[in-house]
């Protein structure tokens, strides 16, 4: 089953490689991985889309937690969340197709961010289903290139994924 997990990590050299190495070394699957700094510049957040049965997922979460530089691991399946992905796509836009591409982009509330005589470059954001539907419709027109960020996710409502008090102040063993 597909899971989106978020991993708060120390914003340090080599951390990405530790996380990626963990997945490859233990044969876990990474569908996409997106990483950037948070509001606190010492912390980065990784959003990883992965899959596995319950036993594998349990191992993935525990093994990530075990890495020294990992501060917190959250599986979005345990809560309501919203997720979005951004896609840049370069499509065929020769004379006859230009109108159709434009219309479709409008319907999906995308944007045309670059134009050439033969191509349009489109930007679209959305959840998995929307992006899938959009790309299916574009396929017959001719997708020349596709770049995706992979999904990022955030909890719905007031819930916030943050560092525990104990981790800020120091635990009993610290």
């Amino acid at each position: 089953m597909r899971h989106i997990i978020s991993v708060l990590v120390e914003n340090e050299f080599g951390v990405l490689s530790r996380v990626a190495g963990l997945f490859s070394g233990r044969g876990f699957n990474i569908e996409s991985l997106c990483v950037a700094e948070t509001l606190d510049p010492t912390v980065s957040i990784m959003t990883i889309v992965t899959s596995g049965n319950d036993t594998i997922m349990e191992q993935i979460l525990k093994q990530l937690n075990k890495l020294i530089n990992v501060i917190k691991v959250t599986d979005f399946r345990e809560m309501d969340y919203v997720s979005r992905e951004m896609v840049l796509v370069k499509v065929n836009a020769e004379e006859k197709k230009r109108e159709e591409v434009l219309r479709m982009t409008e319907i999906f509330r995308g944007k045309i961010i670059d134009v050439s005589p033969k191509t349009y470059t489109l930007l679209i954001t959305g959840d998995e289903d929307k992006i899938k539907a959009f790309l299916e419709l574009l396929k017959p027109i001719g997708i020349k290139e596709l770049v995706r960020t992979g999904p990022i996710a955030i909890a719905r409502g007031e819930k916030v994924i943050k560092i525990k008090e104990k981790q800020i102040k120091g635990g009993e063993d610290g």
């Binding site: 990590v9 080599g14 070394g25 063993d173």
Partner: protein, 564 residues
């Protein structure tokens, strides 16, 4: 006060109480070598190969319970440590490995003797560091020692570029470590422990299955108390040997692939397994689908990833073994009535266990040839179970685990998880460096000993009187045994057609060499070797086709043992 990186390094080691370091020099170590060379308070054992340095620090750590430390140079010096680090990682042994690195300006340049050792060892260290600024050095050393020993212990590597060891900065050794992302759980969840105790007290066929966690948390006395309070039989993993006295009447021996009949039968038929500090490794469980089909499982481990990894657990308890067992004993104390009933209820089980014990005790076929098991029985008898024993890997290791009854923790040094041939000899050297007056014996095979035989020079130079008993069968015996059983006795690659004369070889190194060919010579030679105060090789020519039994074939269930 300002100090150079290499002075900070040495001062930091002293602050950590390091008394011994295993090293090998090179271009990149020179600054540190020079400073350490003027610091006689830290004993410096110079090995002959960097792998030996890591295994020696690992042996030191296992034997003492303290952190083992080694230091090597960049490039090949660093890559030579990988097997040793992976060995310590698999067995959760606290060591700190210092590698030196080319100067920071040259990193990434394919410089002479450059290797990305931090990248290479990421998957086999608990954590590792590249020190990019001398100002970070003291803090990183403090963190490295803390991480190595706390939680589930393991190896930590610190890579120090040559310019960092030369630069200066203000030195103040940090008093405390705080790593917000690393806070191991020591205290088990009281509710879970209570549930576990209730489950124990209603069980009819319970068994304690304990591993290396008992040793690393120093929970041996607590384990004995728990086992005796509950009159419960105990089996150990290879890593757990010595955690429960091998001569205790409740001890069943080791379980698993070469475990005893009674241990494997007891696990298979139990209705409750109390696993403490063990990780259900494949060599212990056999086929996991058929592992302990009737048992509920309580699992105590400090590492949450070990729980429900290969075997689904009913009552998980994350915490330090010693803490959790103490808490269990407190709760049992409150349940005097149930304890009485429980003891009535397990009587049949204990009888059954005794029956299994009597039916198929550990044994071997005695014929005219010299048997390795006999040699180990004699070593046990002569040392009264009071020596530090290291092993290599293969048949020598399993015979030792079966026939030497380890009485106390930290008396067996063996590569359990990684199964590293060549581990035992340097590990024995490390233990001997920590305990100059104790008897340290490496039980080896003629194959394994040749993997780090160069360390004989170290033993002689530093006057470390390790005894190496080579069970010489002219084969890579364990692999040969599999060929015998599963590959139609075609002994490809495993027949060592040539081996050096180990007696002459020892003499060439100015060590002592003996050869034993007959049973009646065993005692005299061992006695002489044990008291000669010098590094000694004892080449014991054994029955070449002796096997290790019982044996659970790979992929089979524990109850399907091949017996003698």
């Amino acid at each position: 006060m300002k100090k150079t990186g290499s002075q900070i390094f040495v001062e930091s080691l002293k602050m950590e109480g390091v008394d011994t370091i295993f090293c090998y020099p090179g271009g990149a170590t020179l600054n540190i070598t020079d400073t350490l060379g003027q610091s006689p308070e830290i004993k410096q054992i110079i090995v002959r190969h960097e792998q030996g340095a890591v295994h020696a620090s690992d042996g030191y750590a296992r034997a003492t319970g303290r952190i083992g430390v080694c230091l090597v140079t960049s490039g090949p010096g660093a890559t030579n440590t990988v097997t040793g680090i992976a060995t310590a990682y698999m067995d959760s042994i606290p060591i700190v490995v210092f590698t030196c690195q080319v100067t920071t300006m040259l990193i990434g340049n394919d410089a002479f003797q450059e290797a990305d050792i931090v990248g290479i060892t990421r998957p086999c260290t608990k954590h590792n560091y590249l020190v990019k600024d001398v100002k970070d050095l003291a803090r990183i050393i403090k963190e490295a020692f803390y991480i190595a020993k706390s939680g589930r212990p393991g190896p930590v590597l610190v890579d120090i570029p040559k310019d960092v060891s030369a630069q200066s900065c203000e030195f103040k050794y940090p008093e405390k470590v705080f790593i917000r992302s690393y806070q191991p759980t020591y205290v088990g969840h009281a509710g879970q422990i209570k549930r576990a105790v209730r489950q124990i007290l209603i069980s009819k066929r319970p068994i304690l299955y304990t591993g290396g966690g008992i040793i690393s948390s120093g929970a041996s006395q607590e384990l004995i108390k728990l086992a005796e309070t509950l009159s419960i039989p105990v089996t150990n993993t290879l890593m757990g040997l010595g955690g429960f006295p091998g001569n205790h009447k409740q001890f069943l021996g080791m379980l698993g692939m070469h475990g005893t009949y009674v241990a494997n039968m007891a696990i298979t038929n139990s209705d409750l397994i109390i696993a403490i500090g063990a990780r259900f490794d494949d060599r212990a469980t056999g086929n996991t689908d058929e592992f302990a089909p009737y048992a509920k499982i309580i699992h105590v481990d400090i590492d949450p990833t070990s729980i429900s990894k290969s075997i689904k657990v009913d009552i998980p308890i994350v915490g330090d073994s010693k803490n959790v067992i103490k808490k269990m004993l407190e709760f049992i104390e409150d349940e005097k009535e149930s304890l009485k009933e429980y003891k009535e209820g397990i009587k049949d089980w204990l009888e059954q266990i005794d029956k299994w014990k009597r039916e198929y005790p550990l044994t071997y076929t005695k014929n005219k040839k010299l048997k390795p098991q006999h040699v180990i029985e004699r070593i046990y008898a002569l040392t009264k179970g009071d020596a530090i024993i290291s092993t290599e890997v293969g048949q020598n290791q399993m015979w030792t685990a079966q026939f030497y009854k380890f009485h106390k923790p930290r008396t067996i040094l063996t590569s359990g998880g990684l199964g590293t041939m060549g581990y035992g000899f340097p590990a024995a050297i490390g233990a001997q460096a920590a305990f100059p007056d104790r008897l340290v014996i490496d039980i080896a095979g003629d194959g394994s000993i040749q993997m780090n035989i160069q360390e004989l020079a170290t033993a002689v130079q530093f006057n470390l009187p390790v005894k190496v008993v080579i069970l010489n069968n002219g084969f890579l015996g364990m692999v040969r045994q599999w060929q015998e059983l599963f590959y139609g006795r075609r002994y490809a690659w495993t027949h060592m057609n040539f081996a050096p004369d180990f007696v002459k070889l020892a003499q060439a190194y100015n060590a002592v060499g003996f050869r034993v060919e007959r049973e009646e010579e065993v005692d005299n030679v061992l006695k002489e070797a044990f008291k000669n105060g010098r590094p000694t090789f004892i080449d014991v020519v054994i029955d070449p086709e002796e096997g290790v039994y019982p044996m659970v074939p790979a992929g089979a269930a524990l109850r399907d043992m091949l017996l003698v």
